[in-house]
Amino acid sequence: MAIKNTFIKKTARKEARTGYLMIAPLMIGLLIFSVRSFFVNFYYSFTNKSAFGNPKFIGFANYEKLFHSDKFYAALENTFLYVLLCVPFVIAISLLLAVLLNKGINLTGFYRTLIFIPAVTMPAAIGLIWKWILNYEFGLLNAIIRLLGGQPQAWLSDPNYVLLSVSAVLIWADVSLRMIVFLAGLQNIPKSLYEAAEIDGANNRTKFFKITLPMLSPTIFFVTLMEIIGVFQIFDFIYLMIPMNSSGMPAARSLVSYFYEEAFVRNNRGYGSAITVILFIIIFIITMIQMKLQKKWVFTES
């Protein structure tokens, strides 16, 4: 009895030691690069840190400046508009394509292969390609519009259109990625459910709303959350498609673009840190709300 006890204790200790050893590389890395950075960034947001020289503690001055800055409010508004505009379209279109691809009709593989290409392309290239297509003078889109007798637009520099254009590019880029996730989710729904429903005389619509959507709801929830967080951090397309002094920039600048300009173009690092803290708080709140909603909306099998 006593022997067995020490044996268990010994294995338990060994197990704990192995456990710590095995998470050690991860934890050390996270502590250095994430946890430390998080707090240092938080501290910087209360300093006048610039490119060189020692940062000086200035209390809430950065936040005060932030809350009096028109540029900040515009960036905040733009960012929310991106989320409101992009997320529903990305989810709806990718879900639609996934359902269509899941029907098992001919050529499905061919379609899927080609629709997926944007997902393996770097946003930098996507930005450049679309910048050229959306060019006012020589762009493909305006050429088509002229051909059809429409009015060409300065898609990337007209404040009335620029946010729509950037959103369209983002939707274009994200749909294929999300579609694949939905497709996998659809393939996990047991066929027997549909067969049973067919026996009960259910039509396609009923099947979609009574079986597909509820069964897919955990995936939809997860993808939506990822997409929201992703769009909140929109930067790449704006950076590549819209020059900083463009007439389109005020209507396109996102929080992360603003952060980049302040922290790394103008070297107001402290001020930039404050912007990321605000971004963090927003994403934190939204994640919390989403988690609450998940409990209400998402269908669980139990």
């Binding site: 490119a51 060189f52 003078e137 300065a154 002094n245 007439s247 005020p250 070297n267």
Partner: protein, 389 residues
């Protein structure tokens, strides 16, 4: 360390010559793109590992304040160099509180380029030197009418109004404004005269002589001109080789800017500066003095990459162009003034361009925009001066 990839091959030649003459000195050339240059320099300077010699621009006071730049006066004195061998406005631009921190590399001038092909096509006479702003506007209006008559697609004029130097900054200077007072305490943007340049540009857009700001933001004015979509262009000398290499370069005419109160040009340009933490200051100075000296200036002039700031070799610049008449740049530079600078220029330039953008997008009137601009620039200057005390 330098930032312009177009100039980098020429610099390899120059450095090669320098090392031939000074076999005991090894120079390594470092090219860093403009949008990364300052971040990198700042990081290196902060860590005390800045290159021995690097390009500097009007952001200089920020670096002198941080003690990153080596004062050059003692070296100049020791070598007995005559400062008047360089264009005075350029030497002045790179001195701070009477101390020289940079030796001029060359200078940037703005002139007007026009496409003779488009003028001929619509039967409009070429502009003549000594023209006034009104004549310039009339030329634009004439082009506009004749282009419209024949159903053409060209714009009469293009101007890079998304950047101050090749556009409204020149007009402000030509109103006789200094932007920043000599003592660095005030701005004269609150002068009623400061509104006029912006109002004039907006009027050019209203009159359909200059395309709307959204169009100029989408395709850079120089690109519009190079694609033969614009008949006239305010253009900086730093783009001269782009003009000279255009497929229709033989048809490009150059002419000094039209006269407002005057037609002075605010001279910009780059300098060579030395890191205060350099370990080979003697060698670094030798390099700087060679780079800013006549031979290097001549090579750069002949490669069409820079108007010499070294007066004696300025003649080398004009003839090197295959198509365009480079002497106009030199001519324009004769009546030049120093580029308006202030120690807080990184902040104030941003304020000025943000407000200019709002005016050109017509979200505010020129009066409102300039008033706000003046107020914010003054506030930035005050803030800077307060923190420096």
């Amino acid at each position: 360390m330098l930032w312009d990839e177009v100039q980098s091959p020429v610099f390899e030649t120059i450095i090669g010559k320098f090392m031939e003459a000074n076999p005991d000195i090894e120079v390594e050339l470092q090219l860093t793109p403009w949008n990364q240059y300052w971040t990198k320099l700042d990081a290196a300077a902060g860590a005390g590992t800045a290159p021995d010699v690097f390009w500097m621009n009007v952001f200089m006071p920020k670096y002198t304040d941080a003690g990153i730049l080596e004062p050059l006066d003692s070296y100049i004195e020791k070598d007995g160099l005559d400062k008047s061998a360089w264009v005075p406005a350029m030497m002045e631009l790179y001195s701070d509180k009477g101390v020289q921190y940079g030796m001029p590399k060359g200078m940037d001038v703005v002139v007007v380029a026009y496409n003779k092909g488009i003028f001929d096509k619509y039967g409009v006479e070429y502009p003549k030197e000594g023209w006034t702003w009104d004549e310039f506007v009339a030329k634009g209006a004439e082009l506009r009418d004749k282009i419209a008559e024949k159903g053409g697609e060209e714009y009469p004029l293009a101007m890079e109004i998304d950047e101050p130097q090749p556009s409204y900054l020149q007009l402000l200077v030509q109103e006789g404004l200094k932007i920043y007072s000599d003592d660095g305490l005030t701005t004269d943007l609150n002068d009623p005269k400061a509104v006029k340049p912006f109002a004039d540009i907006v009027k050019l857009m209203d009159d359909k002589i200059l395309p709307e700001y959204k169009i100029l933001s989408d395709t850079k004015a120089t690109d519009l001109f190079i694609s033969e979509k614009a008949a006239m262009l305010y253009v900086g000398s730093w783009k001269s080789s782009v003009l000279d290499n255009a497929s229709f370069a033989k048809n490009i005419g150059l002419i000094p800017m039209p006269t407002r109160e005057n037609n002075h040009c605010a001279l910009g340009g780059i300098s060579y500066s030395m890191s205060a933490s350099s370990k080979n200051k003697e060698a670094a100075w030798k390099l700087i003095s060679y780079l800013s000296g006549p031979e290097s200036n001549r090579i750069q002039a002949e490669a069409r990459i820079e108007i010499p700031a070294y007066i004696a070799v300025q003649d080398a610049y004009g003839p090197t162009f295959q198509n365009i008449d480079g002497s106009i740049f030199i001519e324009q530079s004769k009546s030049a003034v120093k580029y308006p600078v202030h120690r807080a220029i990184a902040t104030t330039t941003q304020i000025i361009s943000d407000n200019a953008a709002a005016i050109f997008s017509r979200t505010v009137t020129p009066e409102e925009g300039v008033a706000k601009m003046a107020k914010e620039v003054q506030a930035a200057i005050d803030e800077y001066n307060a923190t420096m005390k």
